[in-house]
Symmetry: C2
């Protein structure tokens, strides 16, 4: 597969306003959008460095993946995401290599990207997202 | 301060060869260098996507920060690093904003960058590194 770069780092948070103070007011990174991604149970605040984004993830429901993560490990880095040229090609190659993916096919994530998650068991403990940007 | 982009994501690992199989052989990301950073007690294997790097961190000593992290939380994402234009300016602004940094001034990290770490208490649970690239 062709990896294009680091798309974003996903951070589990319980306070978007406090996060904004640090990432925007102290570090000066632009808060480019806020999105409600209901199929993942999160609201995400996106900070764009111009070379890779930081996504602050706030849980909408007590049983969402982010809520469970925070209960178990506290707030902090939840996953990171690499851009791929083709999500179909990536999924095929992961399956050929017996890499454990979450779900059988891609879903739609932030900004309408086609995304798949790779299980930490197959990556050395990292929850890894792969995303193909949709051409606009 | 001026943030330039995501420099790298640091991953605590206990097996560089297994990491290489995933990041290089399955995902196809180039393993561009291996470095022994004794002042941080780690050997780091760098995978460069072309737009942000992945640094796999192997502890050299049982009392290193990475060894302690793995004992407490297991292998996985340990920190991430943003590039800044000026580390001196960044440190001054962090201090002015009462952000908790680790140590009082920068040290030298991988590739000879000037680096400072920001404590998770000030970032919403994220161990954040800031790095200024040394011009060659």
């Amino acid at each position: 597969m062709k990896i294009v770069g680091i798309e974003h780092i996903g951070i589990a948070s319980d306070d978007l306003s406090k996060a904004n103070k640090f990432w925007n007011l102290v570090l000066g990174i632009n808060n480019t959008c806020t999105e409600d991604i209901d199929n993942q149970g999160v609201i995400t605040d996106v900070y764009d460095t111009g070379n890779g984004k930081i996504e602050i993830l706030l849980s909408k429901y007590p049983d969402s993946a982010i809520a469970k993560f925070i209960r178990k490990r506290g707030c902090g880095i939840h996953h990171f995401c690499l851009s791929v040229e083709s999500i179909d090609e990536a999924i095929n190659e992961l399956k050929e290599n017996n890499i454990e993916i979450i779900g059988n096919d891609y879903t739609y994530g932030a900004e309408g990207h086609k995304v798949i998650f790779v299980h930490p068991r197959s990556t050395g403990g990292v929850l890894l997202e792969l995303a193909e940007r949709i051409s606009k």
